[in-house]
């Protein structure tokens, strides 16, 4: 064990940095999943819009969002450091040798991950420029204000005194549920893809164009999530480097339990395991693991994943069949529903007062983030047309918005536009 505080600090800094460097794998994984679950005529558009949205999110967050968010004053790894008493727009004044710059880097990647989530729910019908505009709101306002309120304002109002802090080390709420609720509001605003629902309201199955992308995306996302959860636990839950083993085990346990549960549930319900729902189950386990990655025991992390794996299958069906929400990649179920479940699970498996703190976090997501994202996007949709034209949708977004197909050597056109 290292007893020298300076050495401990330097080691912690280095390990946290290594974990942060794994997070882009989560972005790559989610991008592949969103692309694979869509149709092939919009595949290049899905990849391109993911890259552009990541760019917009990072620039807006670093120029404006990080300063707006602020950072609470904490003692971390034995060394106190100043919170953002100044407003470092363009990162001015950030001390590069302090954990504050690590928090900024992790925040930058977190906001990029949150921005990718809505692309899954709005696939094949959302204009690229509208996606950029919406991302400006998410990265510059919604994400920073959620973090600022949950770690600052609510604490000063008495949340900590009444129930304790909201535990969300890896971002089940601040990244996943926030992105998922934005996806839900956008999906409601855009409406379903043409040909998705018949006149009688029955949904048509529009299968994924590349299951290999989707499943490989899950593998990449696993690596990314290990980094995201471990870095979040070190920076926001003040975990020491040796505690990261528990985080890695909890994250993996939760994902495995969720994927196995999804496989079992789909096997029972549809007679065969469904690849896309198993992938969604895997992702749901990762998402649900984030909040309690540093707090839960491995057994309870597994139970969290088990519930998430079942929840995601029923949620996908409920949204598609009952609420008529067209979510091609299951983003709302995976990120919003299972993110909220992850937040609540920490409270359920720890203490009653912690459950109340987690409930306040969920209340903010549902009562503030969801109406606000809906309103902001509704407002923006009055200025920029959100949905592509009928011809554009029929043609595919690759040709319509980019002028070139992802797979120019083969042409696939199905008859999903014929009225049933």
């Amino acid at each position: 064990m290292i007893s020298d505080p300076v050495q401990l600090y330097q080691l912690s800094f280095l390990i946290a940095l290594i974990f942060i460097l794994l997070v882009p794998f989560a972005l790559a994984g989610l991008t592949l999943i969103n692309t694979g679950l869509g149709r092939c005529r919009s595949a290049a558009h899905a990849m391109t819009s993911s890259l552009i949205v990541i760019g917009v999110a990072i620039v807006v967050y670093l120029v404006f969002g990080f300063g707006f968010q602020g950072y609470r004053l904490v003692t971390i790894w034995g060394a106190p450091y100043a919170g953002l008493v100044l407003r470092p727009y363009f990162l001015r004044g950030v001390p590069w040798e302090s954990p504050l710059c690590l928090a900024g880097t992790l925040g930058m990647l977190s906001v990029a991950l949150a921005s990718l989530v809505p692309l899954g729910a709005t696939a094949e019908r959302w204009q690229l420029r509208a996606a950029c505009g919406s991302t400006v709101f998410l990265a510059g306002f919604t994400y920073p204000i959620f973090v600022r309120w949950t770690s600052g304002l609510l604490v000063s109002l008495g949340l900590r005194a009444a129930f304790g802090d909201i535990l969300d080390a890896g971002g089940s709420g601040s990244i996943q549920a926030l992105g998922g609720l934005t996806a839900l509001s956008l999906s409601c605003l855009l409406g379903p893809r043409r040909g998705k629902y018949s006149d009688q309201g029955l949904p048509a199955a529009i299968p994924a164009h590349n299951a290999v992308f989707v499943l490989f995306g899950c593998m990449l996302a696993w690596v990314g999530w290990l980094g995201l959860n471990a870095a979040g636990a070190m920076l926001y839950a003040e975990m020491q480097p040796e505690g990261s083993v528990l985080v890695l085990i909890n994250t993996t346990f939760s994902a495995c339990a969720a994927a196995l549960t999804s496989a079992a549930v789909t096997r029972v319900r549809f007679r065969k395991p469904d690849a896309s729902l198993i992938a969604n189950g895997w992702m749901a386990g990762l998402v649900a693991s984030s909040a309690g990655c540093a707090t839960l025991k491995p057994a309870t992390a597994m139970l969290t994943g088990l519930v998430a794996g079942a929840l995601v299958v029923f949620s996908v069906e409920f949204l598609e069949f009952r609420l008529k929400v067209d979510d091609p990649c299951g983003s709302v179920s995976v990120h919003a529903v299972c993110g909220i479940w992850g937040l609540l699970a920490v409270g359920i498996f720890t203490s009653a007062s912690q459950f109340m703190a987690q409930l306040v976090g969920v209340a903010m997501l549902l009562g503030f983030v969801f109406p606000m994202t809906y309103f902001l996007n509704w407002l923006l949709s009055r200025l920029i047309p959100y949905r592509v034209s009928v011809d554009g949708e029929r043609q595919g977004l690759d040709l319509h918005e980019l002028g070139a197909d992802a797979y120019p050597e083969f042409v696939v056109h199905t008859d999903e536009f014929i009225q049933r």
Binding site: L323, A363, L366, G367, Y374
Partner: protein, 58 residues
């Protein structure tokens, strides 16, 4: 109906925040639950408003 649903969602959140600002002890817990209940009601209204209205086949 959708507007009322969203207003209920916001109202629920205001109840939760107001509970921390104005109350102490076990009353805070009750009001957090109450605020959350109002939000659930708002969600149900938003969901109902989102569903397409069934047209009369006649």
């Amino acid at each position: 109906m959708k507007l009322i649903g969203f207003l209920l969602l916001l109202s629920g959140w205001v109840i939760v925040v107001a509970a921390f600002m104005l109350l102490h002890g076990s009353a805070v817990t009750s009001f957090v639950f109450a605020g959350f209940g109002v939000e659930i009601l708002g969600l149900v209204l938003v969901a109902k408003a989102h569903l397409p209205t069934r047209e009369d086949p006649q």
